[in-house]
C-alpha cells in the first residue's frame, strides 16, 4: 500500500514501458517479437543473450534509432512515438567507443550538456566532475585518437553519465577491452550505477559472469523475445528452459537426452542412474537433463565412460570436453590437470545436481530451487 508520499514521488512514475513491441525487417526477419516489459527507475537491468538475440535492437528501439513496426514505448507516460530521437533523453554507450574525434575530452563531455541548455560555466563544472569520476582529469585537452581504448570508453561513459538522462543504455561496453581493464571497469560500473537514482539503466552483455556481477535484474533474450527475467539467483538456479540454461551458463551446461522409466534415468547409451527424489513424481517418458560443468565429477570407475575431445585451461581451472555415447559432456576441474585429448575418462553425474527439462526445453526440476 503506497503512502501518500510515495504516490507523489516522481520516481514511481518515471517508468519505461514497452508494450507488444515488434520489429521485422526484410533482410533479417523478425528482430523483436512482441516485447512487453516495464523498466523501473533506479534499477539496473541486464540484457543477456547471444549476439543476434535482439539486445542491441531493443536498445536501439528505445533510443529511437530503430523504428518499431507495432507496439508502443512510453516513458513517464509519454508515448515515444511522438518524440524524435533528440528529444528522448536517452544516453548510450556503444561497444566501439564512439566519441567526437575532432573535440577534446573536455569538449566531448560538455557537448551534450550545452545541447541540453546549460550555460557554459555550468556545463564545464558538470563535465569536469564527470571526467573526474572516471579518472581522466589529466587528459582534458587530448583528442580521442590520442587515448587508449579504455580511456576512450571512459570518455564515452563520462559523457553519458554527466547528462543524467532518465534512460541509460550500455551495449556491451566492455567487450573491446582487455581482460584486466574489464574487471576493473566492471567494479566501477557497479558503483556508478548505484548512484544513478532516477535513471533506468539497461546494460547488454553476452557474458554470464558479467551479468551476474552487475545486475539487479536479468532479462534473458533469445531470437527477439524475452525468455526469462528475474534476479540473478533466480535465473541462474532456475533457468526456465534449456535455451536460457545455455545462454546463462558459462562454462556451458551439458544437456543430454534421457528417458525416465522404472524409477531410473536412462541415458541414450543404456547407462542409467536411480532417479533422484525431486523427480520421482514425473511420468515416464522422454526428457532432457542438464548438469553444470562444476557439478560433474571425474571418477576412477563407474559413471559414464567417454573420450576426451578438448581440453581448455583457463585461469586456475581446466575445462574438459568429453565425448560419450550419451552425448557431449563438459566438466570443470579445479587446478590444472594433465589430461590429454584422446584419453579415456569416466565421469559421474550426481543425481541430486541434475536439472530436468521437458523435451520442448521447459524446466521441470532444478537442483537448487523448489520443483515444479
Amino acid at each position: 500500500m503506497e503512502t501518500l508520499a510515495e504516490q507523489f514521488d516522481e520516481r514511481y512514475q518515471v517508468s519505461l514501458i514497452l508494450k507488444n513491441v515488434s520489429v521485422t525487417t526484410e533482410k533479417d526477419g523478425v528482430i523483436l517479437d512482441d516485447i512487453s516489459f516495464e523498466f523501473k527507475p533506479g534499477r539496473i537491468y541486464i540484457l543477456i543473450g547471444r549476439t543476434t538475440s535482439g539486445k542491441t535492437s531493443l536498445m536501439r528501439a528505445i533510443a529511437g534509432l530503430l523504428p518499431i513496426d507495432s507496439g508502443e514505448i512510453t516513458m513517464n507516460g509519454v508515448d515515444f512515438d511522438e518524440k524524435p530521437i533528440w528529444e528522448r533523453d536517452v544516453a548510450v554507450v556503444y561497444q566501439q567507443f564512439i566519441n567526437y574525434p575532432n573535440k577534446t575530452v573536455l569538449q566531448n563531455v560538455e557537448f551534450p550538456l550545452l545541447r541540453k541548455g546549460l550555460k557554459k560555466s555550468e556545463a564545464r563544472e558538470v563535465a569536469l566532475a564527470s571526467i573526474n569520476k572516471v579518472g581522466l582529469s589529466d587528459y582534458l585537452d587530448r583528442k580521442p585518437s590520442q587515448l587508449s581504448g579504455g580511456q576512450q570508453q571512459r570518455v564515452a561513459l563520462a559523457r553519458s553519465l554527466s547528462r543524467k538522462s532518465h534512460i541509460m543504455l550500455l551495449d556491451e561496453p566492455l567487450m573491446n577491452l582487455d581482460y584486466k581493464l574489464r574487471e576493473q571497469l566492471r567494479v566501477e560500473f557497479k558503483e556508478i550505477f548505484n548512484s544513478q537514482k532516477d535513471a533506468v539503466t539497461i546494460y547488454a552483455t553476452t557474458e554470464p559472469p558479467e551479468a551476474l556481477i552487475l545486475g539487479a535484474e536479468i532479462l534473458v533474450m533469445h531470437e527477439g523475445r524475452i525468455v526469462q527475467y528475474g534476479s540473478p539467483t533466480e535465473v541462474y538456479e532456475q533457468p526456465q528452459s534449456t535455451t536460457v540454461a545455455r545462454v546463462i551458463s558459462d562454462p556451458p551446461m551439458s544437456i543430454l537426452p534421457v528417458s525416465i522409466s522404472a524409477g531410473e534415468i536412462r541415458f541414450s547409451d543404456g547407462y542409467s542412474q536411480p532417479i533422484p527424489a525431486k523427480m520421482k513424481n514425473f511420468k515416464e517418458g522422454r526428457y532432457e537433463v542438464g548438469i553444470r560443468a562444476n557439478d560433474i565429477v571425474s571418477a576412477k570407475s563407474g559413471g559414464e565412460k567417454g573420450t576426451i575431445s578438448l581440453v581448455e585451461v583457463s585461469g586456475s581451472e581446466t575445462l574438459v570436453y568429453v565425448d560419450t555415447p550419451a552425448g557431449e559432456v563438459v566438466l570443470q576441474m579445479e587446478g590444472i590437470h594433465d589430461v590429454k585429448v584422446g584419453e579415456s575418462i569416466s565421469v559421474e553425474l550426481p543425481s541430486n545436481r541434475l536439472f530436468l527439462f521437458e523435451t520442448n526445453g521447459a524446466l521441470c526440476v532444478s537442483p537448487d530451487g523448489a520443483g515444479e
Binding site: 530521437i85 536517452v90 548510450v92 551534450p112 545541447r115
Partner: protein
Amino acid sequence: MYKVLKATFITIWSLFVLFPIMWAITTSFKPESAVVNGATFIPFLEFQPSLIGWKAILPGAYGLSRFTYGWKNYSNADIIFFFVSQRIMPPVVLAIPFFLLLKELKLLDTHLGLILVLTSGLMPIVVWLMVDFFNALPREIDEMAMLEGCNPIQAFFRTILPLSKPGLTVAGMFCVIFGWNDVFFALTLTATKVLTLPVAVIALNGTVTPYWILAASTVFSIIPLVGLAFVIERFLSRGNLGGAVR
C-alpha cells in the same frame, strides 16, 4: 632490354609533358615580354563561382548518404545517378537558354550570372565525391549527436562537417579548377565587365599579338593550378583519394 625500353618511354613521355610548358616559358622571356599580363585580370573572379556551387550541393550529398529515400520507386542509387549523369550534358545545350535567360534577368556580364550557371556543371562532381566520402564516415557519430540533443541539421553541421575537411578540400579543389578553366560559359555569358582569365587571353589571341605576351599570361595563370598538382600528389600518396575514386 626491357629496362632500356622502359627508360626511353618514360623519358619521352616526360619530355612530351614538359615541352609545351617549357616552350611557353622560354617564349615568354623573349624580347618585349617584360610585361606580365596576369596582373590585369583579377584571380578573384576565378574562385568565386566554384566555391558557392560547392556549398549548395553539399547538403544534398549528405542526405543521400545518410538516409534511405523510399520515394516511390526510386532508391538512393537512382537519385545519385540522376545527379551524377548531368555530367553528360554538353555545356552548349545549356548555354543557349542561359544566354537568353540571363539577358532577360539583366544578369549577363555579371558575377552572379556566371556563378549561377557554373554551379550546374559542378553538381555531378560534388555529389559523386561527397556521397562516397560521407558514406565512409561512421553513422554512429551522427547517431550520438542526435541522442545528445541535436536534430539532424545540427548533427550535420556540428559533427560530420568538421570531420569532412579532407573530402571538402578535394571537392573544393575540383570546383576551383572547373571555375578557373571554364571557357564555354565565360565566353558566352560575359563580355567586357566581367572577364575570366581564359576568355581575356583568348581575346588577345584573336588579334595579332606577339606570342610572347600570350605565353607570359599563360604561364602566370597556370602556376596556381600547378601548385595543386603537388597537393594532389600528397593526397594520393597518403591514400586519401582512394575512397573518392571508384
